[in-house]
Symmetry: C2
Subunit: 199 residues, 2 copies
Amino acid sequence: MADEPATEILDATYRALCEHGYANLTLQDIAAEADTSTASIHYHYDSKNQLFAVFLDDLYERFTDRVDSPDGDTPREQLDTLLQVLLSTEADPSLRAFRTAMLELKAQAPYDPALQERLTDFDEFLFDQLREILAAGVTAGEFDDHIEPARDAECLTTTITGAHTRHVAINQSSDRLYTTMTRYIERHLLADEQPEVAQ
Amino acid sequence: MADEPATEILDATYRALCEHGYANLTLQDIAAEADTSTASIHYHYDSKNQLFAVFLDDLYERFTDRVDSPDGDTPREQLDTLLQVLLSTEADPSLRAFRTAMLELKAQAPYDPALQERLTDFDEFLFDQLREILAAGVTAGEFDDHIEPARDAECLTTTITGAHTRHVAINQSSDRLYTTMTRYIERHLLADEQPEVAQ
């Protein structure tokens, strides 16, 4: 028994989503994962839609916690940490299941403006993180000053999104992509002369 | 009345998929689009699954026709044509609807090995095209010889995939991305000295 049943229901929603996918997900599935009844879920959440809205808020919090302030003493190290976190395909066996559910949600977005808005929040948070890291690196002289942070952050955001799609659709590992992007950063983003702190 | 009813059913499947999405698509929807009966569809195709397998074969043919041998006198021009074709978000109002249906299929792939195999064919065809163009450009001296065609083609394939996902999920235009990638090619892929034919 969890101390906070409402939170336990959100955790169960995550597990049920990974197991059943979004299209077929029912309150019964979530209740079974939470080892409770649908009546108990209704005590905390008015409807499946309301539960799912709260679930997406919770997911957004977890995502921003994971992506916010990545480890690293310099922008380059922070960028590397972020790419490691986001391009991992191996760490967690349930990762592909989760990304599959997220991809279902993305395909539903054109029919659901509230969902599209939430997904836009995820996308913008990642984009902003990348843009800020690139801008900080340019300011510190670690990244080349030909970089336009917004433009390059959009490109990185798109590539990361594509890696997640390919992980789901064709079970493509991102290991080589991570190596390629690391080399790309070394070759094209780093300034020719590094500030002392970076080395 | 089409001369080839089986082909007309495939065209109707495309339109019905864009209109209804994959999850909710029924033979009735396809029959309505084809202005025919489900009995007539069954005359040509044993089941919805068989129709859909043939439909995906047909879609693969159309995709490879569109992506094969892009216009251009040099590898750089061919790469530019390919990016223009694949990063367009404006040209056809039904494009987002089609990409939405494709994204639904991608999210279904983990549950359907035959579908994942077909999607892998699409991905590999694009990857091979990009790899061949990059390799031809290196051989011709138009692209810088530090390029590793397979590695860079994977990165481009992933970014293009991500652009399609973001077009669906957050209605993101790829216009700026196309400009960014064009600049990237100019700045980082082109050899410092261009062969005469390219200029």
